[in-house]
């Protein structure tokens, strides 16, 4: 009796403990929440797209709207994990890279079908990549493939008729040889420009009309595009991926401005929308966790032209400016909390991100000391300075704030807004030597920030500060040719710290995405590169779908 009572009590205690552990461990876990929700297969999701895409041809995908749609229609060799941005296989089963990171061999999955029913093979990759680089295609994004051997001869010099570095060894093996060692090249293959397309469809409609009849291997199949109104895609039943779409259709409703789209979302005509500037707090209050505010893979910075006075050869001055800026207040007050104070050049979400990449905190006293060291005590003796920005998108407010920050340490400068085209010319021509720019990543790798923006040979292209540092160049090239990821990331980190020490820029903020979605749907998320994997989205059982 006693024994049985003891056993009963022990069982009860155990049950309580297990229950408690399950409750505590399971609480808030997204996966379990998702399991608890009942997925309703089917339905039409109305997706907000601000502005008509320029093209739906992988060879012309360059702006975010086109990429948002393109990512649903096309798949490539690799993809990025929507949460972590880590590289994951897509159409490639696996890949190998040689020791000096110049030859990549991709083994393709078998049975992957195009939307027209034909199996996709390695030859389709060879055809599609050659088409992108073919001068006749006039692709403005062919540069994504510039690392491939023979790119220059084919695309620029026009002395070759194809890419020398792309070969189909058999139906399911693709060998890619690079012009120079570049271990992160594999990340490029997740960009939609690398997606395979069927040659017969291109020939059927003509290369320039493929955009109106896109066919890929992605989770959704293209149905129609009514310019300025909507793009309709439907579930591809033979999709090879693990995440088969739940939705029957997605209608990308095209808007011209965020405000109207947001009103439509409120009226129930859209299942998601961009949250317009000025509505962030209200949206957060109204929609709770359905209002997504997540850091994006992009940086907003001010740059100094390193060829011109007073910035040239005056690191202390550039550092002083960095210490004088109050990034926290800028992000939390001026930007309503919709930006993240920059901690370096590379934003969070990129493998290798370092939260302590730079030492610049808001420290006016330190700024004053450095000004003195730079030869301009309390800003005295500085030539007349002008901070340039492009007008029309709220950069003036930020410029005014920075102007007041610098005024606090004795530095005065004018701020001047320019129309975008003029602005770029003036920066390029070095008439504006203190300027605002932003950078959004094409691929979630450190290289995509450090190499274009700070490698010597990119001066005047994307490296607008004209920064040239042989030590940084060496680190970047070494990192590029290092296949071991940990080793490679460490080299990039060193380069980032070195650049920040030199202070050719004032890293101000990391961008944030701000999007809201309907309570009728589940599985909705926004990736750090500001996309929604629609194959994960579903309507909840209780929701009525039209």
């Amino acid at each position: 009796m006693k024994k049985s009572r003891f056993i009963l009590i022990a069982v009860l205690i155990m049950a309580l403990l297990v229950g408690l552990a399950m409750t505590l461990g399971g609480c808030g876990k997204e996966e379990e929440k998702k399991e608890a929700e009942e997925i309703q297969e089917g339905g039409t999701f109305n997706y907000c797209l601000v502005s008509d895409p320029v093209s739906l041809d992988p060879a012309q995908l360059q702006e975010s709207q086109g990429i948002e749609v393109g990512k649903q229609i096309f798949d490539g060799l690799m993809d990025n994990d929507p949460k972590t941005m880590e590289l994951v296989p897509a159409m490639a089963e696996s890949y190998e890279v040689n020791e000096d990171a110049t030859v990549f061999t991709f083994h393709l999955k078998k049975g992957v079908k195009f939307h027209n029913g034909r199996e996709c093979t390695a030859q389709d990759f060879v055809y599609s990549w050659n088409r992108v680089c073919d001068p006749a295609t006039a692709s403005e994004v062919a540069y994504h493939m510039s690392a491939i051997k023979g790119f220059k001869e084919f695309n620029e010099d026009k002395t070759a008729t194809s890419l020398a570095g792309v070969k189909a060894l058999d139906d399911y093996t693709l060998e890619v040889t690079l012009e120079y060692p570049y271990a992160d090249f594999v990340y490029h293959t997740a960009h939609p420009v690398f997606s395979p397309i069927p040659k017969e469809v291109v020939e059927q409609y003509g290369s320039e009309n493929f955009s109106e009849h896109p066919v890929g291997t992605g989770p959704f199949k293209f149905l129609s595009w009514t310019h300025e109104q909507q793009i309709v895609v439907e579930r591809f039943e033979d999709y090879y991926g693990e995440n088969k779409p739940h939705l029957d259709r997605v209608v990308f409703k095209i808007y011209q401005d965020e405000e109207t789209a947001y009103q439509d979302f409120k009226a129930g005509a859209l299942h998601d929308a961009q949250i317009p500037q000025g509505q962030f707090e209200a949206a957060a209050a109204e929609y709770g966790e359905r209002a997504i505010f997540k850091p994006m893979l992009g940086i907003y910075y001010y740059g100094f032209n390193m060829n011109t006075a007073p910035w040239k050869d005056n690191k202390a001055l550039r550092q002083a400016f960095n210490y004088a800026v109050d990034r926290e207040t800028l992000c939390n007050v001026v930007m309503e909390g919709q930006r993240v104070p920059a901690t370096g050049i590379v934003p969070p979400g990129i493998p290798g991100y370092q939260a302590d990449a730079m030492e610049y905190t808001y420290d006016p006293e330190k700024a004053k000391e450095l000004l003195e060291e730079a030869g301009y005590p309390n800003g005295q003796g500085l030539p007349e300075l002008t901070l340039g920005y492009n007008t029309g998108v709220g950069h003036d407010v930020i410029a005014q704030f920075i102007q007041s920050n610098l005024k606090d340490v004795g530095v005065s400068f004018k701020i001047e807004g320019y129309e975008w085209g003029t602005y770029l010319d003036l920066i390029q021509g070095e008439q504006i030597t203190f300027f605002r720019l932003g950078w959004l990543a094409d691929y979630p790798i450190m290289d995509n920030f450090l190499y274009p923006l700070f490698y010597s040979e990119n001066a005047g292209v994307d490296n607008m500060t004209q920064y040239k540092n042989p030590e940084v160049d060496e680190l970047l090239l070494k990192a590029r040719s290092t296949p071991d990821e940990d080793e490679r990331l460490e080299l990039y980190r060193q380069a980032e710290r070195l650049i920040l020490e030199d202070a050719p820029i004032i890293p101000l903020m990391f961008y944030k995405t701000s999007r809201v979605y309907s309570d009728k749907v589940g599985g909705y998320m926004r990736t750090p590169d500001d996309l929604t994997p629609l194959e994960l989205v579903y309507f909840k059982k209780t929701a009525t779908t039209e």
């Binding site: 320029v54 540069y143 994504h144 129309e419 085209g421 010319d425 094409d442």
Partner: protein
């Protein structure tokens, strides 16, 4: 009449060429490298050069103008920098939407504007007249942006009567399309309705004081006959003039309405083309809009003859 039409046709050609010339010169004189603006980040000098070649940006302004003008008779308006498609195709897609919206707005203006104006004039100083006067004053002062957003809030978000924005999706029938037109057409018509009501009121009051109206009344004609048979026709001449010119404006200048209601017409295309420095698109849109505007003006002039027998085009009406 035929001579008049021919003369107006020549004038139209000169006006259109003049407009193309001025707009082209203005766009060309804007500073900044359009190719650099348009190119994606990371674009090489080679890519920039290709963009310049493709859109003739590497040629001097006069050569570009000549290429453009020589394409006009074939209705070849060049290729849009932004969309990389023929401008004529883009206009072909968007102009019908603007015209349809303008027609819907014009119907609202004619019905409500003329009705309110005539009622107001006939029952001068009555409660109705005061109501119309106050309403039109309020309406004229209201920005389209505000009217539009207010309508979206009431009729879409709260009452769910009409779709909040957008044109009818492809394949929608006539009656299915009507709800999509109600709000944008009303917003577009609001200010013009108020103007027409005021214009119709003052014009009708003017006519009602004329001798022939006094004579008609003295002859014992019913008030209805006096107003609708004798007064209305002449009273509406200024209104028809306004409506004609306004129709052209409704097509080309409905930028705000098209933005608020996400209407795929030419208005906001023109706005974005200017912003994005899409030269060919701007010139093409302006060219088409000027053509429409001039054609409407011509139709308005011809319609005078039918509305007022005293008017003979090309002659001055006799002053007695």
């Amino acid at each position: 009449m035929l001579l008049f039409i021919l003369r107006r046709f020549y004038q139209t050609v000169i006006v259109v060429i003049g407009v193309v010339l001025v707009i082209s010169l203005l766009m060309a004189s804007l500073p900044g490298d359009v190719a650099r603006m348009r190119a994606p980040k990371g674009a090489s000098e080679e890519t920039l050069e290709n963009i310049r070649k493709r859109f003739n940006l590497d040629k001097p302004w006069l050569s570009r103008l000549w290429i453009y003008l020589s394409g006009l008779p074939r209705l070849d308006l060049g290729e849009s920098f932004t969309y990389k498609r023929p401008v004529m195709d883009i206009i072909g897609e968007s102009l019908p939407w603007s015209v349809k919206l303008a027609i819907a707005a014009e119907i609202i203006i004619i019905i409500f504007g003329i009705l309110a104006g005539v009622i107001s004039a006939v029952s001068r100083y009555s409660f109705l007249d005061i109501l119309v006067t106050i309403s039109t004053s309020v309406l004229v002062a209201m920005p389209i942006y505000w009217i539009g957003r207010l309508m979206q809030l009431f009729f879409s978000q709260w009452l769910h009567w009409f779709p909040p924005s957008g044109a009818p999706p492809p394949g929608t029938g006539f009656w299915g399309s009507v709800p999509y037109y109600v709000m944008p057409a009303t917003a577009l018509a609001a200010v013009s309705t108020a103007y027409v009501a005021r214009l119709a009121r003052s014009s009708m009051l003017e006519v009602l004081r004329q001798d022939y109206i006094v004579t008609a009344r003295a002859k014992g004609l019913s008030e209805r006959k006096v107003i609708y048979k004798h007064a209305l026709k002449n009273g509406l001449i200024p209104v028809v003039t306004y409506l004609g010119i306004d129709f052209g404006v409704l097509i080309g200048a409905a930028v705000l309405t098209e933005m608020i209601f996400n209407w795929p017409g030419v208005g906001h295309k023109l706005y974005y083309a200017v912003i994005q420095r899409d030269h060919t698109m701007v010139i093409g849109l302006v060219f088409i809009l000027v053509l429409i505007f001039v054609a409407i003006n011509l139709l308005v002039d011809i319609s005078y003859a039918f509305l007022d027998p005293r008017i003979r085009l090309g002659e001055s009406p006799e002053v007695t």
